[in-house]
Symmetry: C2
Subunit: 193 residues, 2 copies
Amino acid sequence: MDALNEAILTRGKGIGSDIVKVDSFLNHRIDVALATRMGQAFHDAFADAQVDLILTVESSGIATAITTAQAFGNIPVVFAKKGDPATMDPNAYTAQVYSFTHKKLNCVRVSRQYLEKGMRVLIIDDFLANGEAVEGLRNILEQAGCECVGAGICVEKGFQPGGAKLREQGIKVVSLAIVDAIEDGHIILRNQD
Amino acid sequence: MDALNEAILTRGKGIGSDIVKVDSFLNHRIDVALATRMGQAFHDAFADAQVDLILTVESSGIATAITTAQAFGNIPVVFAKKGDPATMDPNAYTAQVYSFTHKKLNCVRVSRQYLEKGMRVLIIDDFLANGEAVEGLRNILEQAGCECVGAGICVEKGFQPGGAKLREQGIKVVSLAIVDAIEDGHIILRNQD
Protein backbone atom coordinates (compact mmCIF):
# COMPACT_ATOMS: atom_id res chain seq x y z
CA MET A 1 0.00 0.00 0.00
CA ASP A 2 1.72 3.12 -1.28
CA ALA A 3 0.67 5.54 1.45
CA LEU A 4 1.86 3.16 4.19
CA ASN A 5 5.12 2.36 2.39
CA GLU A 6 5.80 6.06 2.05
CA ALA A 7 5.02 6.67 5.73
CA ILE A 8 7.40 3.87 6.72
CA LEU A 9 10.20 5.25 4.56
CA THR A 10 9.78 8.89 5.52
CA ARG A 11 8.53 8.70 9.10
CA GLY A 12 9.63 5.23 10.28
CA LYS A 13 12.99 4.33 11.74
CA GLY A 14 15.05 1.16 11.44
CA ILE A 15 16.92 0.28 14.61
CA GLY A 16 19.56 -2.44 14.74
CA SER A 17 18.74 -5.42 12.54
CA ASP A 18 15.13 -6.06 13.48
CA ILE A 19 13.25 -3.12 15.01
CA VAL A 20 10.92 -1.12 12.76
CA LYS A 21 9.91 1.91 14.75
CA VAL A 22 6.65 3.36 13.42
CA ASP A 23 5.31 4.95 16.57
CA SER A 24 5.12 8.34 14.87
CA PHE A 25 2.07 7.20 12.87
CA LEU A 26 1.01 3.66 13.78
CA ASN A 27 1.38 2.54 17.36
CA HIS A 28 1.84 5.49 19.67
CA ARG A 29 0.91 8.56 17.68
CA ILE A 30 -1.71 7.54 15.13
CA ASP A 31 -2.13 9.11 11.71
CA VAL A 32 -5.91 8.77 11.60
CA ALA A 33 -6.27 9.50 7.89
CA LEU A 34 -3.75 6.73 7.15
CA ALA A 35 -5.46 4.36 9.61
CA THR A 36 -8.76 5.01 7.82
CA ARG A 37 -7.18 4.24 4.44
CA MET A 38 -5.63 1.05 5.82
CA GLY A 39 -9.06 -0.03 7.06
CA GLN A 40 -10.40 0.51 3.55
CA ALA A 41 -7.52 -1.52 2.09
CA PHE A 42 -8.26 -4.44 4.44
CA HIS A 43 -11.91 -4.23 3.48
CA ASP A 44 -11.01 -4.35 -0.21
CA ALA A 45 -8.75 -7.37 0.33
CA PHE A 46 -11.40 -9.32 2.24
CA ALA A 47 -14.55 -7.85 0.67
CA ASP A 48 -15.75 -11.28 -0.52
CA ALA A 49 -15.03 -13.10 2.74
CA GLN A 50 -18.42 -12.39 4.38
CA VAL A 51 -16.73 -11.09 7.52
CA ASP A 52 -18.95 -10.95 10.63
CA LEU A 53 -16.46 -9.62 13.14
CA ILE A 54 -12.97 -8.13 13.46
CA LEU A 55 -10.69 -9.61 16.13
CA THR A 56 -7.52 -7.90 17.32
CA VAL A 57 -5.43 -7.76 20.47
CA GLU A 58 -4.83 -4.73 22.65
CA SER A 59 -3.44 -2.15 22.20
CA SER A 60 -1.81 -1.33 18.89
CA GLY A 61 -4.24 -3.30 16.73
CA ILE A 62 -7.32 -1.46 17.94
CA ALA A 63 -7.10 1.67 15.77
CA THR A 64 -6.91 -0.21 12.47
CA ALA A 65 -9.45 -2.77 13.67
CA ILE A 66 -11.91 0.08 14.16
CA THR A 67 -11.30 1.65 10.76
CA THR A 68 -11.55 -1.78 9.10
CA ALA A 69 -14.85 -2.44 10.85
CA GLN A 70 -16.11 0.93 9.62
CA ALA A 71 -15.14 0.04 6.06
CA PHE A 72 -17.18 -3.17 6.42
CA GLY A 73 -20.23 -1.09 7.41
CA ASN A 74 -19.69 -1.00 11.16
CA ILE A 75 -19.36 -4.68 11.99
CA PRO A 76 -18.28 -5.29 15.61
CA VAL A 77 -14.68 -5.35 16.83
CA VAL A 78 -13.50 -7.56 19.68
CA PHE A 79 -10.09 -6.92 21.14
CA ALA A 80 -8.45 -9.71 23.10
CA LYS A 81 -7.21 -8.56 26.48
CA LYS A 82 -3.85 -9.30 28.00
CA GLY A 83 -3.41 -10.21 31.64
CA ASP A 84 -6.25 -10.61 34.06
CA PRO A 85 -8.25 -7.45 34.90
CA ALA A 86 -10.67 -7.60 37.84
CA THR A 87 -13.68 -6.88 35.65
CA MET A 88 -12.84 -9.60 33.11
CA ASP A 89 -15.30 -12.42 32.65
CA PRO A 90 -13.60 -15.51 34.12
CA ASN A 91 -15.49 -17.50 31.52
CA ALA A 92 -13.15 -16.68 28.65
CA TYR A 93 -11.25 -18.35 25.85
CA THR A 94 -7.54 -17.97 26.53
CA ALA A 95 -4.28 -18.53 24.69
CA GLN A 96 -0.64 -18.01 25.54
CA VAL A 97 1.24 -15.50 23.39
CA TYR A 98 4.93 -14.81 23.69
CA SER A 99 5.74 -11.15 23.04
CA PHE A 100 9.23 -10.75 21.60
CA THR A 101 8.91 -6.98 21.99
CA HIS A 102 8.11 -7.09 25.69
CA LYS A 103 10.01 -10.37 26.22
CA LYS A 104 7.27 -12.00 28.24
CA LEU A 105 4.50 -14.55 27.96
CA ASN A 106 1.06 -12.92 27.85
CA CYS A 107 -2.23 -14.60 28.43
CA VAL A 108 -4.72 -13.22 25.91
CA ARG A 109 -8.39 -13.78 26.46
CA VAL A 110 -11.75 -13.17 24.86
CA SER A 111 -15.04 -13.50 26.73
CA ARG A 112 -16.92 -16.52 25.42
CA GLN A 113 -20.12 -14.60 24.85
CA TYR A 114 -18.58 -12.42 22.12
CA LEU A 115 -17.56 -15.24 19.79
CA GLU A 116 -20.42 -17.27 18.41
CA LYS A 117 -19.93 -20.62 16.73
CA GLY A 118 -19.83 -20.26 12.94
CA MET A 119 -18.86 -16.57 12.91
CA ARG A 120 -16.50 -15.55 10.13
CA VAL A 121 -13.72 -13.55 11.72
CA LEU A 122 -10.97 -11.38 10.26
CA ILE A 123 -7.90 -10.90 12.45
CA ILE A 124 -6.28 -7.44 12.29
CA ASP A 125 -2.96 -6.51 13.85
CA ASP A 126 -0.36 -3.80 13.48
CA PHE A 127 2.70 -6.08 13.19
CA LEU A 128 3.47 -9.62 12.09
CA ALA A 129 6.89 -10.88 13.11
CA ASN A 130 6.98 -14.36 14.60
CA GLY A 131 3.24 -14.80 14.24
CA GLU A 132 2.63 -15.44 17.92
CA ALA A 133 -0.29 -13.02 18.28
CA VAL A 134 -2.11 -14.28 15.18
CA GLU A 135 -1.55 -17.91 16.27
CA GLY A 136 -2.96 -17.10 19.70
CA LEU A 137 -6.03 -15.43 18.22
CA ARG A 138 -6.55 -18.34 15.78
CA ASN A 139 -6.33 -20.74 18.71
CA ILE A 140 -9.10 -18.77 20.45
CA LEU A 141 -11.23 -18.77 17.29
CA GLU A 142 -10.83 -22.55 17.00
CA GLN A 143 -11.94 -22.99 20.61
CA ALA A 144 -15.02 -20.90 19.81
CA GLY A 145 -15.85 -22.76 16.60
CA CYS A 146 -15.38 -19.59 14.53
CA GLU A 147 -13.86 -19.50 11.09
CA CYS A 148 -10.75 -17.37 10.60
CA VAL A 149 -11.07 -15.86 7.11
CA GLY A 150 -7.54 -14.47 7.28
CA ALA A 151 -5.28 -11.91 8.84
CA GLY A 152 -4.82 -8.28 7.83
CA ILE A 153 -1.46 -6.93 8.94
CA CYS A 154 -0.23 -3.36 8.69
CA VAL A 155 3.51 -4.10 8.73
CA GLU A 156 4.98 -7.57 8.22
CA LYS A 157 8.60 -8.22 9.05
CA GLY A 158 9.42 -10.35 6.03
CA PHE A 159 12.74 -11.41 7.57
CA GLN A 160 10.98 -13.11 10.48
CA PRO A 161 9.12 -16.40 10.12
CA GLY A 162 5.52 -15.52 11.07
CA GLY A 163 4.17 -14.69 7.61
CA ALA A 164 5.65 -17.77 5.92
CA LYS A 165 4.45 -20.02 8.77
CA LEU A 166 0.86 -18.77 8.51
CA ARG A 167 0.74 -18.88 4.70
CA GLU A 168 2.07 -22.46 4.72
CA GLN A 169 -0.94 -23.35 6.84
CA GLY A 170 -3.20 -21.94 4.14
CA ILE A 171 -4.12 -18.77 6.01
CA LYS A 172 -4.76 -15.76 3.80
CA VAL A 173 -2.39 -13.12 5.13
CA VAL A 174 -2.63 -9.62 3.65
CA SER A 175 0.19 -7.34 4.73
CA LEU A 176 -0.08 -3.72 3.60
CA ALA A 177 3.70 -3.34 3.87
CA ILE A 178 6.47 -5.91 4.12
CA VAL A 179 9.88 -4.98 5.50
CA ASP A 180 12.54 -7.23 4.01
CA ALA A 181 15.53 -5.94 5.92
CA ILE A 182 16.99 -3.14 7.97
CA GLU A 183 20.44 -2.13 6.78
CA ASP A 184 22.42 0.63 8.47
CA GLY A 185 19.22 2.18 9.78
CA HIS A 186 17.54 2.02 6.36
CA ILE A 187 14.28 0.14 6.02
CA ILE A 188 14.15 -2.03 2.88
CA LEU A 189 10.56 -2.63 1.74
CA ARG A 190 9.36 -5.45 -0.49
CA ASN A 191 7.82 -4.38 -3.77
CA GLN A 192 4.37 -6.00 -3.68
CA ASP A 193 3.10 -4.73 -7.04
CA MET B 1 -26.31 10.89 24.79
CA ASP B 2 -29.42 8.83 24.14
CA ALA B 3 -27.85 6.01 22.14
CA LEU B 4 -25.18 5.43 24.78
CA ASN B 5 -27.68 5.64 27.66
CA GLU B 6 -29.83 3.09 25.92
CA ALA B 7 -26.85 0.78 25.32
CA ILE B 8 -25.89 1.02 29.00
CA LEU B 9 -29.42 0.21 30.16
CA THR B 10 -30.06 -2.63 27.71
CA ARG B 11 -26.59 -4.11 27.20
CA GLY B 12 -24.64 -2.98 30.29
CA LYS B 13 -24.54 -4.73 33.64
CA GLY B 14 -24.31 -3.32 37.14
CA ILE B 15 -22.24 -5.45 39.49
CA GLY B 16 -22.10 -4.86 43.23
CA SER B 17 -22.18 -1.20 44.16
CA ASP B 18 -19.61 0.24 41.79
CA ILE B 19 -18.86 -1.85 38.68
CA VAL B 20 -20.48 -0.80 35.41
CA LYS B 21 -19.79 -3.59 32.96
CA VAL B 22 -20.04 -2.36 29.39
CA ASP B 23 -17.68 -4.74 27.70
CA SER B 24 -20.40 -5.89 25.32
CA PHE B 25 -20.18 -2.61 23.40
CA LEU B 26 -17.46 -0.33 24.80
CA ASN B 27 -14.30 -1.92 26.13
CA HIS B 28 -13.93 -5.49 24.94
CA ARG B 29 -16.45 -5.94 22.15
CA ILE B 30 -16.88 -2.56 20.44
CA ASP B 31 -20.08 -1.37 18.81
CA VAL B 32 -18.38 0.55 16.03
CA ALA B 33 -21.47 2.48 14.92
CA LEU B 34 -21.96 3.67 18.51
CA ALA B 35 -18.25 4.51 18.84
CA THR B 36 -18.50 6.57 15.66
CA ARG B 37 -21.51 8.46 17.02
CA MET B 38 -19.72 9.09 20.32
CA GLY B 39 -16.79 10.53 18.39
CA GLN B 40 -19.21 12.88 16.63
CA ALA B 41 -20.72 13.88 19.99
CA PHE B 42 -17.30 14.72 21.41
CA HIS B 43 -16.55 16.75 18.31
CA ASP B 44 -19.80 18.68 18.71
CA ALA B 45 -19.06 19.40 22.38
CA PHE B 46 -15.55 20.69 21.66
CA ALA B 47 -16.05 22.03 18.12
CA ASP B 48 -14.98 25.55 19.11
CA ALA B 49 -11.94 24.50 21.13
CA GLN B 50 -9.48 24.47 18.20
CA VAL B 51 -8.30 20.99 19.06
CA ASP B 52 -4.94 19.98 17.55
CA LEU B 53 -4.62 16.48 18.96
CA ILE B 54 -6.51 13.79 20.84
CA LEU B 55 -4.77 12.18 23.82
CA THR B 56 -5.93 8.95 25.43
CA VAL B 57 -4.43 6.03 27.32
CA GLU B 58 -4.28 2.43 26.19
CA SER B 59 -6.34 0.38 25.68
CA SER B 60 -10.01 1.13 26.13
CA GLY B 61 -9.82 4.80 25.18
CA ILE B 62 -8.32 4.17 21.75
CA ALA B 63 -11.49 3.29 19.81
CA THR B 64 -13.36 6.45 20.76
CA ALA B 65 -10.21 8.55 20.42
CA ILE B 66 -9.98 7.40 16.79
CA THR B 67 -13.62 8.16 15.98
CA THR B 68 -13.34 11.56 17.69
CA ALA B 69 -10.24 12.37 15.65
CA GLN B 70 -12.11 11.40 12.49
CA ALA B 71 -14.96 13.74 13.44
CA PHE B 72 -12.40 16.54 13.80
CA GLY B 73 -11.21 15.89 10.23
CA ASN B 74 -8.49 13.30 11.01
CA ILE B 75 -6.40 15.13 13.57
CA PRO B 76 -3.75 12.89 15.17
CA VAL B 77 -4.31 10.63 18.18
CA VAL B 78 -1.63 9.87 20.73
CA PHE B 79 -2.22 7.09 23.19
CA ALA B 80 -0.19 7.06 26.38
CA LYS B 81 1.44 3.70 27.01
CA LYS B 82 1.50 1.82 30.26
CA GLY B 83 4.57 0.05 31.57
CA ASP B 84 7.86 0.01 29.78
CA PRO B 85 8.04 -1.70 26.38
CA ALA B 86 11.46 -2.35 24.90
CA THR B 87 10.77 -0.18 21.85
CA MET B 88 9.57 2.81 23.88
CA ASP B 89 11.52 6.01 23.59
CA PRO B 90 13.27 6.47 26.95
CA ASN B 91 12.91 10.20 26.39
CA ALA B 92 9.27 10.39 27.44
CA TYR B 93 6.96 12.38 29.67
CA THR B 94 5.71 10.11 32.44
CA ALA B 95 3.09 10.19 35.17
CA GLN B 96 1.95 7.74 37.82
CA VAL B 97 -1.66 6.56 37.56
CA TYR B 98 -3.34 4.31 40.07
CA SER B 99 -5.79 1.92 38.44
CA PHE B 100 -8.61 1.00 40.82
CA THR B 101 -9.80 -1.62 38.32
CA HIS B 102 -6.48 -3.42 38.15
CA LYS B 103 -5.46 -2.40 41.67
CA LYS B 104 -1.98 -1.33 40.67
CA LEU B 105 0.11 1.72 40.00
CA ASN B 106 0.82 2.21 36.31
CA CYS B 107 3.44 4.41 34.80
CA VAL B 108 1.93 6.09 31.75
CA ARG B 109 4.20 7.72 29.23
CA VAL B 110 4.13 9.74 26.05
CA SER B 111 7.19 10.24 23.85
CA ARG B 112 8.29 13.86 24.05
CA GLN B 113 8.39 14.33 20.30
CA TYR B 114 4.62 13.85 19.91
CA LEU B 115 3.56 16.71 22.19
CA GLU B 116 4.59 20.14 21.00
CA LYS B 117 4.50 23.18 23.23
CA GLY B 118 1.32 25.16 22.70
CA MET B 119 -0.74 22.31 21.24
CA ARG B 120 -4.40 22.30 22.21
CA VAL B 121 -5.22 18.79 23.35
CA LEU B 122 -8.51 17.02 24.06
CA ILE B 123 -8.32 14.06 26.43
CA ILE B 124 -10.66 11.15 25.61
CA ASP B 125 -11.27 8.14 27.84
CA ASP B 126 -13.87 5.42 28.21
CA PHE B 127 -14.43 5.81 31.96
CA LEU B 128 -14.11 8.49 34.59
CA ALA B 129 -14.24 7.25 38.16
CA ASN B 130 -11.58 8.63 40.49
CA GLY B 131 -10.06 10.77 37.78
CA GLU B 132 -6.61 9.23 38.06
CA ALA B 133 -6.12 8.66 34.33
CA VAL B 134 -7.21 12.16 33.33
CA GLU B 135 -5.03 13.69 36.07
CA GLY B 136 -2.04 11.68 34.82
CA LEU B 137 -2.62 12.80 31.23
CA ARG B 138 -3.05 16.43 32.34
CA ASN B 139 0.18 16.18 34.26
CA ILE B 140 1.93 15.00 31.07
CA LEU B 141 0.35 17.84 29.05
CA GLU B 142 1.60 20.35 31.62
CA GLN B 143 5.12 18.95 31.38
CA ALA B 144 4.92 19.37 27.60
CA GLY B 145 3.55 22.92 27.73
CA CYS B 146 0.35 21.85 25.98
CA GLU B 147 -3.08 23.21 26.78
CA CYS B 148 -5.73 20.74 27.90
CA VAL B 149 -9.00 21.97 26.37
CA GLY B 150 -11.01 19.42 28.32
CA ALA B 151 -11.89 15.78 28.74
CA GLY B 152 -14.45 13.77 26.81
CA ILE B 153 -15.61 10.74 28.75
CA CYS B 154 -17.90 7.97 27.55
CA VAL B 155 -19.16 6.83 30.95
CA GLU B 156 -18.70 8.82 34.15
CA LYS B 157 -19.33 7.19 37.49
CA GLY B 158 -21.15 10.08 39.12
CA PHE B 159 -20.93 8.43 42.53
CA GLN B 160 -17.13 8.55 42.47
CA PRO B 161 -15.18 11.78 42.95
CA GLY B 162 -13.24 12.18 39.68
CA GLY B 163 -15.75 14.30 37.76
CA ALA B 164 -16.38 16.76 40.61
CA LYS B 165 -12.65 17.04 41.33
CA LEU B 166 -11.82 17.92 37.71
CA ARG B 167 -14.73 20.36 37.28
CA GLU B 168 -13.73 22.15 40.51
CA GLN B 169 -10.36 22.77 38.86
CA GLY B 170 -12.14 24.46 35.96
CA ILE B 171 -11.63 21.58 33.51
CA LYS B 172 -14.40 21.18 30.95
CA VAL B 173 -15.54 17.59 31.38
CA VAL B 174 -18.11 16.25 28.92
CA SER B 175 -19.49 12.84 29.87
CA LEU B 176 -21.82 11.23 27.35
CA ALA B 177 -23.42 9.18 30.13
CA ILE B 178 -23.30 9.54 33.90
CA VAL B 179 -24.09 6.61 36.17
CA ASP B 180 -25.44 7.87 39.49
CA ALA B 181 -25.79 4.55 41.26
CA ILE B 182 -26.02 0.82 40.93
CA GLU B 183 -28.87 -0.63 42.93
CA ASP B 184 -29.61 -4.36 43.01
CA GLY B 185 -27.87 -4.80 39.67
CA HIS B 186 -29.78 -1.89 38.09
CA ILE B 187 -27.80 0.98 36.62
CA ILE B 188 -29.29 4.38 37.49
CA LEU B 189 -28.38 7.03 34.91
CA ARG B 190 -28.40 10.77 35.44
CA ASN B 191 -30.80 12.70 33.22
CA GLN B 192 -28.53 15.22 31.49
CA ASP B 193 -31.18 16.96 29.37
